[in-house]
Symmetry: C2
Subunit: 185 residues, 2 copies
DNA sequence: GCTCCTAACGCAAAGTATTGGCTTTAGTGA
DNA sequence: TCACTAAAGCCAATACTTTGCGTTAGGAGC
């Protein structure tokens, strides 16, 4: 549940949000998910618990909000010189991250919330990165596979394996789906 | 987090579990997910809250346990006379259920829990139903598509759309993926 | 059928977390 | 600079969660 966009980047709301998010990330690193409570986060962030309850509603929604921000891509996909190279490299790093312990925790936090906004943003981030790769390919004169095909043929099956089958997709598994996608579409 | 299987089907453990599960289902129907607390469930089930905390650990795990049981198939897939017919009919009803409001809630409850057992069971239920359809097809002399293909080509993309894109797959969308699967595999 | 044994439950007392009412403050615009 | 508003702080009341300990139901051995 994202915040409406504070009045100004340097305003109090933004400062509080930043402090609370940082407190959550720090506490997760230091002591894992146990003992992570709203009062603990509030204390670490230097705010009162009621601030967090009022703004986020509770721990679950706060964790989802933090997780989404951590999933936001911090840089455009690496440029390897070709569509195939770019896409495969991005897939590898993305699913490596998502199948890690913290990655799975983020997915849980995001998907376990009643509010769907977080999951929608994840989908948006994925599409955004894929589109960036596709546009670069188009600029090179290549003819990249449609984004929806990549989502359906590669991303969705890998996500399913992480979420439902508790698998950690191997590089080979990722490459195999990738091949299906780029050859058959 | 399923219970170890009670000493006996008629034993006290089994009775308590049944009463608690029923209380959760009833309360969810009556008042939605708000106001659904451990004390409320305990009171409705005629047990003390500490029983629930000790056995399930908390509300989230209890909800996940109940959700998994509700996802358990209650009957084998309908027999329409052909592999294609059976599979398409099952897909339609399954994703109709999963994209409904209570279906989405079950998925949230199951995927939002730290313990992966619930999600693994969901995967198991899906495979079980698909295998039942495939075996019937084999008995008829048909040559059904491998279960893994169905999972990757049809189930995973539909699940992705429900979970991440907040879509409710149309009958056409399901049929289209189904065609891809049965024709290209 | 009787007795012993153990896992699971009830109860009640702490211990935490959450909520609501009201006050105070920071940031914005006149 | 002043007034206005949204958000935060503070504090008390309420609700939920955890824990220790006594009790009981169900199963095992005889």
């Amino acid at each position: 549940m994202a915040i409406k966009s504070a009045p100004r980047p340097g305003g109090r709301s933004a400062r509080v949000q930043a402090a609370v998010h940082k407190a959550v990330r720090d506490l997760q690193k230091e002591q894992g998910r146990d003992g992570l409570t709203v009062p603990a986060v509030a204390s670490r962030a230097g705010v009162t618990p009621s601030t967090i309850y009022r703004r986020w509603g509770g721990l679950a929604q706060l964790l989802a909000d933090v997780a989404v921000e951590q999933m936001r891509p911090d840089e455009p996909p690496a440029d390897t010189g070709s569509f195939r190279g770019d896409l495969l490299a991005w897939l590898m790093q993305y699913f490596d991250e998502m199948s890690s312990t913290p990655g799975r925790a983020m997915l849980r936090d995001v998907l376990g919330t009643e509010n769907h906004a977080g999951a929608g943003k994840c989908d948006g981030f994925i599409r955004q990165q894929i589109e960036a790769i596709r546009e670069r390919a188009l600029a090179r004169g290549e003819s990249p596979v449609p984004a929806d095909s990549i989502l359906s043929v590669v991303v969705a099956p890998l996500m399913y394996r992480i979420l439902f089958a508790d698998e950690t997709p191997s590089a080979n598994a990722i490459a195999a789906l990738f091949e299906q996608c780029v050859t058959r579409t």
